[in-house]
Symmetry: C2
Subunit: 358 residues, 2 copies
Amino acid sequence: MKAIAVSQDDRSLDVIEKPRPEPAEGEALVKTLRVGVDGTDHEVIEGGHGGFPEDDDHLVLGHEAVGVVEDPNGTTLEVGDVVVPTVRRPPNGGNEYFERGEPDMAPSGMYHERGIVGEHGFMAEYFTSPAEFLVPIPAEMADLGFLVEPLSITEKAMELAEASRSSFTWDPETALILGNGSLGLLTLAMLRNDENYDRLYMLGRRDRPDPTVDLLEELGATYVDSRKTPVDMIQEVHEPMDFVFEATGYAKHAVQLVHALAPNGVGALLGVPGPWEFEFDGGAFHKEFVLHNKALVGSVNSHVRHFESAVDHLAEMDDWFFDDLITGVYGLGEFERAFEDGDTIIKTAVEFAQYEER
Amino acid sequence: MKAIAVSQDDRSLDVIEKPRPEPAEGEALVKTLRVGVDGTDHEVIEGGHGGFPEDDDHLVLGHEAVGVVEDPNGTTLEVGDVVVPTVRRPPNGGNEYFERGEPDMAPSGMYHERGIVGEHGFMAEYFTSPAEFLVPIPAEMADLGFLVEPLSITEKAMELAEASRSSFTWDPETALILGNGSLGLLTLAMLRNDENYDRLYMLGRRDRPDPTVDLLEELGATYVDSRKTPVDMIQEVHEPMDFVFEATGYAKHAVQLVHALAPNGVGALLGVPGPWEFEFDGGAFHKEFVLHNKALVGSVNSHVRHFESAVDHLAEMDDWFFDDLITGVYGLGEFERAFEDGDTIIKTAVEFAQYEER
């Protein structure tokens, strides 16, 4: 079968030929439909993040997949089930985090991530997976299934953020999303349908006309240009934010966002920046944090329950949103186009097969 | 009656004569027993924090009080009830935070704090208070009642911290308290009785012999000298900490503590530092926060339920701990001694009257 892999030799991304995998006991064989591309994939290609499987000279890329069960192999799944795989796998026979269904809480070294670190990903015509890591989704969502994994990242971050405010009465009304990439836009589309939030803001650094600015405005959000209104000025220029979702990976945002938060507000951090020494007013950060009961939560990865919530929330979103968000779906013959970057590109995927009803 | 007040003229602290207050409807009259002194009192005296009542040229100090009901004035309290007053009061006829019993979550401007900002405190022979802000405690705790308010601050911070970890399985074993002052030591005595925590650490910057170092070791904690082991090295030198409680007000700790936290750990910030610009590795802070699902919660003040928990937790502590912690209780004639600072002083109080059983 064909797969898209990064070579350890020269870090090139190529279509390679691999044997079709055989499902082991407890595993199903899945025929891949679509696999999304995100910033992590680019970091893996460039070598800034992730790692190759032991004893292998390449890594099959891809962690945002949707497929169809080809061979349930004695599991509870059925032939034709449309499924989305989770990303983390136990590295050596499992550990407590996997046993209790919370692999997203496992510390470094206690997990592999398919397509990112230690195990091959889903950008292949077929993949196998333990059935417990395959989340069934409605067949009508087959084309959009590659958005379940990214939205599950938001689900988990929101869950952590809301938990942090659960010991008192918290009625958030305003939310600010830092970053106008595909994850930010998916999050915005989700918050738009959340009756808690009346007013939504999204920060970016793009000139109009720009498709992400158009899209965020169509979703009812206010665009905040960070070149004119830095994060720590947003409260003055606009209003205090009960919830801030950071999806820029820009380290200054992690501390500046405290000054954008309303009293009792919470920020969720999702970016993974490199080292960066800079000066900031640590006293003001500390004081503001304490005197107004603010909170920050870091969040990485997600587990089955978050995938299930993401399916529910995707089902509530409008078709026009997906039409605007997904700027390209490319077959294997032109897979490179799914990895191109540019101001007119928002979300792309590689298509390995089209969904066919049985 | 006599009261201890800060003068607006010259910021001097003196015993003054004031009329004994008359309880309004819904208020009780309380005869003051003891009032504790803490860092906030010193900041109020120095003018770094707080503010005088409108139309008054002095502020009666004191927010850590215990007293006996002298006149219930038709409230549900009874003559002779030992009570501890909460600190925040509604500034102008109340607001939603007070209505739902969460004045500790009110933003700046929506509360007064007795003895700190906008309303006179409890360092007087008598005070009045709405009965809803008077928490009854067992009579045998009358002498220790002035410790209820400070411990309630810890109760609230712990509640916020635990809530932030409530969306997943969290079994903390290790805790680090930053700061070996009286609040840190009270917190340590509480965590020592918390079956979750097996190993406790306390950071300070004192040479032995030192009474706080002796006391923390008697409580079973390991002393961490910050001059030898800075906060961001503690994980390497000792072990990762599931919970970090910051009670130093030292702004670098607020960001360094992320590197002391175990994966999925949480830090509670309680200090209120002034502005301080410094350089730090914001990228490492951000990345570590995200990749290991860490959290930070800021916490200020407390409400009735936290006072009630504090009473329960104080009742579990050993008498020898209080003997060591409380280094001085002084009558009005020598009240200045309760405000002295020094390496042999841990916790002090001013005594206005001795408790007498009726």
